[in-house]
Symmetry: D2
Subunit: 402 residues, 4 copies
């Protein structure tokens, strides 16, 4: 921003790992007059979204919708299924895994925390070992983040399911998909997840203020005996009212208007196309980073996140200062860094309603900001991304031209 | 609606007791591109609203802002200040008081419930007696709804404070102002309230999805030893982050944009003018009801609510059927009835951004719908309201003409 | 407004004769990102609205859409069909008829102006006489306002068509429907109108900025030889481009988004229902005025306007001062007065997306403002309106209840 | 777009030469309830924008605001100042110059048309010669487009002023700034322009539907004797009403809300910063084109447009097909080609609320679409743009970091 200006021109590039840029169509759906949350028009809306949201989780079971951000849905998942003193197995994939663990402790649970160096996802084999060793079957739940928002590492949920089964362990399987839902393949039913935690403000392209619990029959059974105190997050109240399309207390009606449209838009594009797009954008981003000669925080390709990529800066370079220069000069926001790598990396969010040209704009701003910030790097990152997208899109373009 | 139409024309009269009609200026403030909830622009917004919201509660202490509807703020108030097994004194003013009591039980508290017939507010004297009788000082909190949304009865908070003091009782004082805040006088500090629970979607003129805890120093001290498990609603996390204008986890950023404008608008009108307007609309409504020959649910004028008036229908007339006819013919929504009076009354919400002409439209629709529904009544309700408003506004008009 | 307030609370009652209150659904459709006015998405939109707008005019001929307000469409109608020095027959129904006549003079036409006292519509018999007397067939066009916006008098277009035919006169028939279109029955084809001039900001429920010419084959033939200079308003350029759904120069794309939805909404309600609603609101308004003991400007019931009613104040009472008091106290805007009756009357617009309850609110504000302004009147106007609407709606309510 | 999708994801890149992407802040200002265009609130708005718009034209004289797109403002400029049969000197810079000439003919003027090959701007020397040769001073006006939207060539208005003065010619000077206003330096008063024609939907960042005439005293004097018929576009009606902040007929009120904010935003950024940004984006675009080995339509650097750059494709490559592939694959729209070069070039609009990252996204989409469309080119265009912006922004970044 020039020194005598009080306005940064043009569109803000919101490349944080969420909230993501909300499409205008969704924002306008939210921006409509309020209706009676107990009236017939609401009942129709309620029934429709309570049904259609299931397709996003790939479940035929109920999905509970909370007026709360993801942290609330974490608490709901734990408090509806567990009892004070219950042991839970968690994996320290990064900052958000750590926060969930702290929550478990506060609620009176006993988390067992599998360590990592914050540069990989959860390892199914290690989980299997832990469960094998739990001869007394004291572990009541395995809690994993599908995508660790803080590091950009994706964990193999289907493999972890197999690990639990391999250990013949009866623990519940609780999965956080806050920064992966509606961006990459996820199958609540097929993968045997008991509670899937989701949020509105990432792949679902909504503003923050809504979160989800998709539940299995096993989870619903567990809820009947779970003794953690709960009220606002009580599943049972919700499920009772859902039959009429209503909520037990006033929901965020405007967010439901938005959710209705968001689900419609995801299906217009096609979920598989949405996933393919996210994978293309992620790979283009990684190619740019490699061309710059910088390091991707996620150490192993098998854990690469389709939604977030964290970029390590060379020793001695402050990632927060880099982010500040990029924001002030190019109107772009990235995610911050955490824990052992605080100030060492920045995160590029490439999820939600982002297309190829927007990503190129973001990567272009990044390459320029690296130069302006004096971060040692090679040119050519954007070029590498362009080349990859061209190769990836050539089929689509041929189809469009025919 | 004519039988061959699929659209009800004109503006919907949302006369439920909340959510209330959100002013366009607030909706458009919400309908703006998302920003980084960890960036410098957000920090400014956060600091500004965290400060300005205090003026609404008339407190100099912190106000905690939750991404949750009022039910969440209820839970926050209880779980941050109390421990399992604590006794709390509550008053059964109506449906919402009952729901709060159920919540207290679920959380492991032991509520003592003062009964009423649902047609009055809380009686300060009875509360004082209860506290006097609690020689062992086992009651840890007195929990009262300032305005019982289900019945339209307002309780005298200042008097109840005096009652607690009169009994020299150390209990915390927890007050729900969800359907009274920013609509009628309320003084968190002066009245010695320890936790005030507020919501966005009533007098604050916002969509649902945000709620509040205003806290006293005594409440903050209580939080240090309170043993109810809590995490999402933990005050301490909030207060720590508030210093930088941030939240411990992603807040509903768009709602904060709206809150910022809502507070500004309340001060533009002037809080005292806002309160006078609500009292004028309430009295006009009651005069209409009396002219119709119908009964106001709230039995005693000292408990009349400035925001909601419940109207009893004569025996044998179904209030839900009346509401349906009114909605389908005149595009107006009222609140439903509860508990012992289910289907016996409907509630007119006259709170939020409602002016004289809108109220007359709503009362007109009501008078017409009474006729169409065959509910026995006298004409002249709207006329009585007009006469009252004219007498009440004559000073304002003189000032405007000068 | 209280003296220390800077904001009038609640919804503004925009009861001017247009622009009318725009439904949120239309405003949000307008509030969408811009698209290429030469691209494929626009072509679909253009073709759709150019076709659907015909149903509003009840024509199968083209309707030309201008980015201009009604005054522009007046000029277009004249300049595309007439040549310098042409005589045109016009009727002085009021202020807008007078403005159209001044325009005709400025463009080099020679208007013959049938006088009235501004309290009636156009008289078909007098028009027939004039045409009979024009033995040389020098009159090239008869120009009439369907609804004189300045006075609230509706002219009988079908009768005037018969009058022209009765005189076997070849003149073109040009009709302004700016304040009647989409509010009361109008049949471009059946009534043999050659150019119908319409506007967006009245019955079509759009913001100002768009106007229309529906054209007959005869008008299109006349355009081939019409010699008035024109360019921006040239029909031929428009018709050529319309074949592809495009416009010869950048149209107001956002207004077209809105038009698309507005037409859809009119058909959802049903045009006949829309007309019935306007007639009901108009009659309720007139009953209120009579109950107040005030005079309706329009002298003869056969000319009563379904969209606008002008109310004469007693001698010595300034209608502008009344309007100011009403605006400042009750947040309601009326139309001003003109010409011989300047400051003697105010106009209530009851057109566009207005329903019964909104009208009652507006009439209530009016009755209260009459009292506050000290205008002599009887009470009971609103009551008369309520009674009329109840009697008129009882059928609809019965249907809704079944 | 994948074949089984019905939605193109992400933000549309609207890189046509206008309408330009409208900032959300402006769209939300437009998306507000309508007000009485004769009421006191409107009067304040009217006075404010009629004053502030002058700063955009750099004039102290009145600016007339039309509810019409640029074509209407062209007609207004001609019809208010000229009389039938008047000779006007025009320069065939491209398609829009040609359309203006056709308009002049239709209105009964006699244009003298200086030819070009559509690859340069207007040459001041040639204009001076023409005026010298007009010994009888029959040329009444010199009409020039500051920026030819169809080709991306900018004409030197200050030099042409000097040319007119050099020839001591009394002709009026009429300048079209539709695609340059508020994007590059323009000085109505200092450059002695008599009528400046502007439009809303380009540098002013508004939707289409509004246009302008900035007028000199000499132009106002000419209007008193100008004989071209006019009514909708009559300046005099406008200027009379402007004294009270009103318009002679209903203006596009919502567009005025938007204009008010647009002017505010331009000054927040600073007009000189706005101009510098446009020059930076234009130069970055040209460097990309050269790196691709493609040809810029504008032949001479002194005529380079700061807002639009037209790119010639190699012989045998259809620019319309290229645009279609780019739109369908990368959600980007460019301007089409005209006249002698139809289908030979596409135009990149880099004007309005566009920042560096958005331009890089657009150039990236272009480079990728060139590859997908099989247009022979070299890689490296985006890289060249990045390098240029880095060098250009390094000062700004240093300032931001300090």
């Amino acid at each position: 921003m020039p020194q005598n200006a009080s306005r940064l021109p043009g569109r803000h590039f919101l490349q944080i790992p969420g909230p993501t840029p909300v499409p205008d169509r969704i924002m306008r759906a939210i921006d409509m007059p309020l209706i009676d949350q107990r009236g017939p028009e609401f009942a129709k809306l309620g029934k429709r979204v309570l049904e259609s949201i299931k397709s996003i989780f790939k479940t035929t079971n109920p999905v509970i919708i909370y007026t709360a951000t993801g942290t609330g849905a974490w608490e709901a998942a734990l408090s509806n299924t567990l009892s004070p003193g219950d042991r839970v197995l968690m994996v320290e994939t990064g900052q958000f895994a750590m926060l969930w663990k702290v929550m478990a402790e506060r609620l009176g649970l006993k988390p067992e925390f599998i360590k990592t160096d914050w540069r990989v996802g959860a390892d199914a084999k290690i989980i299997e070992e832990h469960l094998h060793n739990d001869k007394a079957r004291e572990i009541k739940a395995v809690c994993v983040l599908h995508n660790e928002t803080a590091t950009g590492c994706l964990s193999p949920i289907a493999d972890i399911r197999k690990a639990i089964d391999g250990a013949s362990h009866p623990a519940l399987f609780l999965v956080d998909t806050i920064s992966s839902l509606a961006s990459t393949d996820y199958r609540h039913d097929e993968w045997g997840v008991d509670v899937t935690i989701g949020g509105a403000q990432k792949g679902l392209m909504l503003p923050p203020g809504m979160s989800f619990n998709a539940v299995s029959d096993k989870a619903l059974r567990a809820a009947k005996t779970a003794k953690l105190p709960r009220s606002f997050f009580e599943w049972d109240d919700m499920l009772t009212m859902y039959k009429q399309g209503f909520f037990p207390y006033t929901p965020a009606t405007q967010m439901l208007f938005g959710l209705d449209v968001a689900i419609e838009m995801l299906h217009e594009e096609g979920l598989e196309n949405v996933f393919a797009r996210h994978h293309r954008l992620a790979e283009a981003t990684r190619r740019a980073i490699r061309a710059w000669g910088l390091e991707i925080l996620c150490r192993e390709p098998r854990y690469y996140s389709p939604t977030i990529t964290a970029v390590l800066l060379p020793e001695g370079h402050d990632a927060d200062r880099f982010r500040e220069i990029a924001l002030n000069t190019f109107n772009i926001a990235y995610g911050a860094s955490f824990g052992p790598y605080a100030k060492r990396y920045f995160r590029i969010g490439h999820l939600g309603d982002i297309n190829d040209a927007t990503l190129i704009g973001a990567l272009g701003a990044t390459e320029m900001a690296l130069a302006l910030a004096g971060v040692p790097h090679k040119k050519g990152g954007v070029q590498a991304a362009l080349d990859y997208i061209v190769s990836s899109q050539s089929g689509a373009a041929r189809a469009a031209a025919e």
